[in-house]
């Protein structure tokens, strides 16, 4: 809070939230640098179709349990429904009120979180191992028997409506939602995960109940549990709690491969924030999907471009020119598509200088490409920074949940290091030509429109909206 840092926490830019780092790795137990491995885990399926991952970790006497449900904004009939449903899980369950559950959980020093994202929803509990029985019971009730109490539901809605307005006070909190909408348009990947004030207002308790019934089913859910437990004991506990959870009607998932848009021309979404003192910007386009076989190599290339402090973008925009505190790039991947974007921010007066320099720096991928020394450095960096990403129970539980959501497994993970090692300069050229959007780039500029609208025109066809307007 009082900390002022050298660089934005993730240099690749917390701003873009899209810095999806390469996936982990199982490894041998030797502490060879870069050869970190995912500890052994067990995966099973209960008779009702519920997938269970068990990964014991005994460093501290804590446990994380996470449920991952295949339902997100892509399933929204009203914008924000999936996320609101996940939040509404915490409004009381199994005969206990919201306040009673909070009292119980807080008293144990534990926590319960829920969230909805583009393609998945999650419920997570973190607690001390000694409280396993109580916390699993609460977790089970909240996941499978939420009450969706009417009065609490109205209060939650009011808070979320206000939260959308608050998020819009901070350009970096919302620029990704604008970018997704610009790139994906009417496709489900263009859905605003948070919803808008009006869409949230319109959601009824019944809609949330029915969303829960449709998607929160054992056959559509995985539970990953990581921490200080004995696998056999935990298995029995989970079996006892979840075996009677019944499936309802077959889950319907949209065909996300259908009607994926293609950028026909360069476009600029200019979001006017009248009192802005800087311009926050992001540009890029549609890129790769989750299971792209070249992803590891692509992420190494991205490390060179905008994924670390010495990356080209940060070096040019920050270190060489002092235009910004940070610049970076990253991929956001979904099951059927994804985006690539470059982002930064700069004072209003230097908007053009910063965007132009970012574009010019991006062009270097094709003009000059990556030399051997830079590639070797990025490979070492990616490998060296890998192990700490999966050090906590929470991180591991999230990883197992993603495996379920996106259908990858330890084979993919195990090959991480060798894939990094295999990347050559020649191969990097192929990756650049195949996967980094080069033409018809899509731009979002959030700032003082009056001062930057003429600059915006130079990058493509401009649409101007007010940041306070109830949309993305």
């Amino acid at each position: 809070m009082n900390h002022i840092m050298k660089a934005p926490k993730v240099v690749a830019l917390a701003l873009l939230s899209s810095f999806v780092f390469a996936l982990p790795v199982m490894a041998d137990q030797k502490n060879t640098p870069g050869s970190f491995q995912l500890p052994a885990y067990e995966q099973l399926k209960l008779d009702n179709g519920l997938t269970v991952f068990l990964l014991p970790q005994h460093e501290v006497p804590l446990i994380t349990v996470q449920a991952t449900v295949r339902a997100g904004a892509v399933n929204d009939k009203v914008a924000g429904l999936a996320q609101l449903t996940s939040q509404a899980l915490l409004l009381g369950a199994g005969g206990k009120s919201k306040a009673q559950i909070e009292q119980l959980v807080d008293f144990l020093g534990a926590s319960l979180h829920s969230d909805g994202s583009m393609e998945g929803s999650s419920l997570r509990a973190d607690f001390m191992a000694k409280d396993t029985e109580q916390m699993l019971a609460v977790f089970h009730q909240v996941l499978t028997q939420p009450a969706f109490d009417a009065a609490e539901f109205e209060k939650l809605k009011a808070r979320q409506v206000a939260a959308v307005a608050q998020a819009k006070e901070s350009p970096r909190m919302v620029i990704d939602q604008y970018f997704n909408k610009l790139v994906f348009g009417a496709h489900p990947y263009g859905n605003a995960v948070s919803g808008t004030a009006a869409s949230l207002q319109s959601i009824s308790q019944q809609q949330v109940k029915s969303f829960h019934q449709s998607y929160y089913q054992p056959g559509n859910t995985a539970i990953s549990i990581v921490g200080d437990f004995k696998a056999e004991v935990m298995k029995a506990q989970l079996q006892k709690l979840f075996a009677n959870w019944k499936n309802g009607e077959a889950v319907q998932q949209p065909d996300l491969t259908a009607e994926l848009p293609k950028a026909e021309k360069a476009k600029v979404l200019l979001v006017n924030k009248a009192d802005a003192i800087e311009t926050t910007f992001s540009f890029g386009g549609i890129a790769i999907k989750q299971d792209n076989p070249d992803y590891v190599g692509i992420s190494v290339v991205n490390t060179v471009l905008g994924g670390r402090f010495t990356s080209w973008l940060n070096d040019e925009l920050r270190v060489n020119s002092g235009l910004t505190y940070g610049a970076g790039s990253g991929f956001d991947r979904y099951s059927a598509s994804g985006t690539f974007s470059i982002g930064s921010f700069t004072k209003t007066e230097s908007t053009q200088a910063a965007v132009d320099l970012a574009l010019k720096t991006y062009q270097r991928l094709w003009d000059k490409g990556i030399d051997q020394v830079t590639l070797d450095s990025a490979k070492a960096y990616v490998k060296g920074q890998f192990p700490p990403r999966f050090e906590t129970n929470t991180a591991l539980a999230g990883l197992l949940g993603d495996m379920y959501l996106y259908g990858f497994n330890q084979d993919f993970i195990n090959s991480f290091q060798s894939k990094v090692d295999q990347l050559t300069v020649a191969e990097s050229k192929r990756l650049i030509n195949s996967y980094f959007p080069k033409n018809q780039l899509q731009f979002v500029l959030v700032g003082k429109a009056e001062a930057i609208k003429d600059i915006a025109k130079t990058y493509g066809e401009v649409t101007q909206v007010e940041i306070t307007a109830d949309s993305f």
Partner: protein
């Protein structure tokens, strides 16, 4: 390292007490002849390690004209020395698989490195070079002013807390250097000179003014060898002058209003003067902080969010060398006026002072502390951070292992007493952030 049955559980005296000595012993320390203290925690759970270099210098060591220079310096430390010129610190570290960051507070400047354990020597080489031979290059200074100006602006653009915080501090402190923001006044960022920077480096970046923590897959003997080779030759300097100014006692409420047109509902930030972290009241204040705002069963959530007066609340107790502030903040629900929110926020706090807290709330806060401690101990990064934090703010990393006792000793009466002593009107500064201009009706 396995902490499972021992120091951890013992944190709040929940388990066997014999484990305490064992745990304190897991941390090894030595001091070089030039005064630099180094703490080492061997932990081979992942093939990585980290180093935290804590320098005892922050915005409290500044004065008007050079405000923000500690933080600026934190940036300059990456801009070239003798062996490793401009950009080479980061280039060398990243090519070795390492990453770094740094942060500045009111009290400290901290440099953090995270790296594969087998490149430990590179880290020592890089750090020693910039400590002993920093090259404060005029061109780099100019470019870095732009970076820091952008850092300041982006904070103000994106964070209401930052916007209010710097205004509140300026009012709550009229004498002590905690008065200005860590990032400094904009005019000072533009104005400090090479001479200011050189003097600053010589005074504060002396080995006798630093503590280093190394945690991870390393061996004490190797850390010692490298410290002797790379750090020991760096000469010590005279002790920096102490911060002399003591903030005079506040005699009545102070207020500040900040207008920002894009704010969608009023924000209220309160700051109450409290003693330094070394005060015995620290533990009671820390538990009070949890009782006020940790979890949805907390006082502020129940009193404001659940009542639909606020959409978000928090409270914050900084660790601090000198007497500082205890903060509480609330963001109004749509339609709730600033005055109404302020009154409700103050009512929640006054209720604790008047009626105290329940035994159950106290137990809850202690359980939350234990959980927080375990989570810090889950990673080598958390371990290095907490060990260093106790060494710096409480005088010794050993105090980490006294903390269980200290928290356990706190009674409900202590919580009420500190609420009464510190969270009172005459000791309070109120900041209001709202969209309308502040004007007479």
């Amino acid at each position: 390292m396995k902490l499972k049955q021992s120091a951890l559980a013992l944190m709040l005296g929940l388990m066997i007490s014999s484990a305490q000595a064992t745990e304190a012993r897991d941390i090894q320390s030595f001091t070089l002849k030039n005064g630099m203290k180094i703490l080492v925690l061997e932990d081979a759970s992942i093939p990585n390690a980290n180093s935290y270099l804590f320098w005892k210098v922050g915005s409290r060591n500044e004065y008007p004209g050079i405000t923000g220079i500690s933080h600026f310096f934190e940036h300059m430390m990456f801009n070239g020395a003798k062996k490793y010129g401009p950009k080479m610190f980061d280039q060398t570290m990243e090519a070795a698989g390492g990453a770094n960051n740094a942060y500045t507070t009111e009290d400290l400047t901290v440099y953090t490195n995270w790296f594969p354990a087998n490149v430990l020597e590179t880290i020592f080489d890089l750090e020693a070079d910039r400590i002993a031979h920093l090259d404060i290059n005029a061109k780099m200074v100019e470019s870095e002013r732009g970076v820091v100006t952008s850092e300041r602006s982006t904070g103000l653009e994106n964070s209401n807390f930052q916007t209010m915080h710097e205004e509140l501090k300026g009012v709550a402190f009229r004498a002590h250097p905690y008065s200005w923001p860590v990032i400094g006044h904009e005019s000072d960022i533009k104005a400090w000179t090479l001479h200011d920077l050189k003097r600053f480096h010589k005074t504060y970046y002396a080995p006798n003014n630093a503590v280093m923590v190394v945690a991870g897959d390393v061996k004490l003997a190797e850390v010692k060898r490298l410290a002797e080779q790379y750090f020991a030759p760096i000469p010590s300097q005279p002790e920096p002058e102490a911060v002399r100014t003591v903030e005079p006692e506040q005699k009545g409420e102070r207020r500040v209003y900040v207008q920002k047109a894009s704010v969608s509902s009023p924000n209220i930030l309160l700051g109450f003067h409290i003693p330094a972290s070394s005060s015995p009241d620290y533990y009671a204040l820390d538990l009070l902080n949890s009782i006020l705002s940790q979890g949805n069963s907390s006082r502020l959530y129940q009193g404001l969010v659940d009542k639909e007066l606020a959409v978000d609340v928090f409270s914050y107790l900084p660790m601090s060398f000198d007497p500082n502030l205890f903060y509480t903040m609330a963001i109004a629900s749509p339609g709730v006026k600033a005055a109404e929110l302020e009154a409700a926020l103050i009512a929640v706090i006054n209720k604790v002072a008047k009626e105290g807290v329940s035994q159950e709330e106290l137990e809850k806060a202690k359980n939350q502390k234990l959980m927080q401690f375990y989570r810090e101990m889950e990673t080598i990064n958390g371990k290095a951070d907490i060990i260093g934090t106790y060494e710096l703010y409480f005088g010794s990393y050993q105090k980490l292992f006294d903390a269980p006792k200290e928290y356990q000793k706190v009674t409900a009466a202590d919580i009420q007493r500190v609420a009464q002593s510190y969270l009172k009107k005459s000791n309070r500064t109120v900041a209001v952030l709202d969209s309308a201009e502040d004007k007479d009706l």
